[in-house]
Symmetry: C2
């Protein structure tokens, strides 16, 4: 077991149990409205049974790094981020028309199949869409419920609240920019990286760390609209690099977030379905505008570009097509370039931990998490 | 001006200003992520410029009835409910494939048109859907942000939080039951009324009143999953009728909610587009499974039932068809029956205020609101 997987595992099992307890209690509320809500409650429980629990891990270590003690309350607050994430995934799968998630049919497909199997009235697709919208909404709302019922003191919650708020506005803004970029045909590496900053780097790493820090009394100053102007509670504001813990979390989180997404981009084309829970070449089939593909386009020969353009967004992409696209992307040198970028960004992230005002245990855990988040197979 | 419209107007103008201030601040956060978020911010501002502000009015008077003072902080907290409502409407319009909202194109249609007008890549419909999902999510999340930034003391917010949580789970559960009932072909009056209880009566009236009461220290006891077991803070639990303020709000809110929805059902078929902001006969075109239609079906002659079945859910329904359906529904006696039910439920609601432990000013305002919410034209 690597230090990274230990740092993840330490949190994951407790997050799993906290989520189970919360979802069990919500099941009671749903069934009180009607027993026919049972399939919805079951699908939510199934969706929440999986996941790497990365955001809770970063929130937890953000808290510990600021000197917060190990306790069940911070696990509850951190676990709430998984509810937000699950809701966002349900909506994301619907927008991307994805068929699978974590090795299971995506939620809208589950309810589409339920409708079709029972010969119900109206369109099965519209029914699946409606249920996915509503259950995603429910999960997003439950984030706040679990966060505020975490058992952390009111003062801590009041400090954390603005970070959670900012994190959510940023992730939905990032997804909007992604949609817009795809529609407007922005194929630049810079455009793809801007989406990654908001949709992944801030959302997955920087803001969860800031949330943990804020709960412990060392959060960023979010007074300006842009953020992060990092600074401890009551500390002086600065645009990162001011020596505060929040600034160190930014300096660690943003490059690590890019490296994390680049690994995802590579797995989305080259990953093993048994590890990723997604069909082979799924990003190509869905026509995702990833950084990997933007780099491949910018480096491709005319013949390689032709192969990429032919298959990108083709819903019928098969194994032969997947192999051709893989060869074109690898041949362009984009995979090697992404691997170099991952290595550079991970080193930059880990270097940002040096001399940052955090506990030694957290520094070690975050260095391990940086490796675990970017050296994974699925 | 009737007492009801005065009670509404008293709150509405201040809620409008609070929402404007909040949305102006969020615009800054969005534009910091990218200037291309401007159309999204504009659409949200446009959507929030309209609306009757019923839920904030009930929340405000729920607070005043419990002895809370008139202050800007309760206006902010009450206004947060409009953000939830706007997000739910954006998602609802998408699920119902509605073209208009408050006299404007619905949000997904706005962005569909934007995509088509610019000749962007991919499907304009999918783009409109994606933007509507994301902006709806954003609005739903902003509910919590505005609520917690309302300026009310931490103790008050902690008391109110579980009511807001319950309200949201109930409204999404109610919408799920609605989808399910439509798909499974449940055409019974009882089935339609169960949906109304969760989707309208609790969400629009009972829970906003409970939220105001809880903020002021007299909320319901939500310990059981079903709720409301009403009771003041620290009071004994009972299933309504225990003499508490929360129980009185339930006894007022549930029948009034049904009357409110029945008025909506009538306006959805017979309303004047200039007043409702929706095309004539829109509920028929969308095939909505309303209580009015369930009653009409249960009373219709064979010929009347044939007319209803022919046009219900017909996207091409024109003025002639609308007139035929109106005649069939009226002829069945369903409109007269709904009007009787509205009258009976409004009287029951107002009677529940008698002797309830609330301020005289609030009792008068709530009696006025009961009339304003059910005697409207749009």
């Amino acid at each position: 077991m690597t230090p990274g997987s230990a740092a993840l595992g330490h949190v994951r099992d407790r997050v799993d149990r906290a989520l189970q307890a919360f979802v069990g209690q919500q099941r009671g509320v749903l069934l009180a409205a009607g027993d026919d809500l049972r399939p919805g409650a079951d699908s939510i429980a199934g969706l929440l049974a999986g996941g790497k629990r990365l955001r809770p891990a970063f929130c937890y270590w953000g808290w510990r790094g600021a000197g917060g003690p190990d306790c069940p309350e911070i696990i509850n607050a951190a676990a709430a981020l998984e509810l937000l994430h699950a809701g966002a995934l349900v909506h994301d799968d619907l927008m991307d028309a994805s068929d699978t998630r974590r090795g299971q049919p995506s939620l809208h497909r589950q309810f589409e199949a339920r409708h079709a199997g029972r010969g119900w009235h109206g369109s099965a697709g519209a029914f699946g869409m409606g249920v996915a919208i509503l259950l995603g909404d429910l999960l997003i709302c439950w984030t706040d419920e679990m966060f505020h019922a975490s058992g952390l003191p009111g003062d801590a919650l009041r400090r954390g609240r603005p970070v959670l708020d900012r994190m959510r506005t940023e992730v939905f803004a990032g997804q909007y920019l992604d949609l817009l970029g795809q529609a407007a045909g922005d194929e630049t590496v810079a455009g793809a990286l801007r989406v990654v900053e908001f949709k992944t780097a801030k959302y997955t790493i920087e803001r969860p760390l800031h949330l943990g820090a804020a709960l412990a009394g060392a959060g960023p100053d979010l007074a300006g609209p842009g953020g992060p102007r990092a600074g401890g509670a009551g500390g002086t504001a600065g645009d990162g690099g001011d020596g505060s813990l929040a600034a160190a979390y930014t300096a660690y989180g943003l490059p690590l977030g890019i490296a994390f997404q680049l690994r995802d981009d590579i797995l989305g084309v080259f990953g093993d379905p048994a590890q990723t829970g997604k069909p082979a070449g799924d990003d190509v089939r869905e026509g995702k505008r990833t950084v990997l593909l933007a780099i491949a386009r910018s480096r491709a020969t005319a013949a390689q570009a032709q192969v990429i353009d032919r298959y990108l967004g083709d819903p019928l992409l098969d194994d032969t097509g997947t192999a051709e696209v893989r060869a074109a992307i690898t041949g362009s040198g984009a995979v090697a370039e992404c691997e170099r970028m991952i290595g550079r960004h991970v080193r930059e992230a880990i270097a940002a931990l040096d001399g940052a005002p955090m506990t030694g245990e957290a520094r070690e855990a975050l260095a391990g998490l940086a490796v675990a988040a970017t050296a994974r197979d699925g």
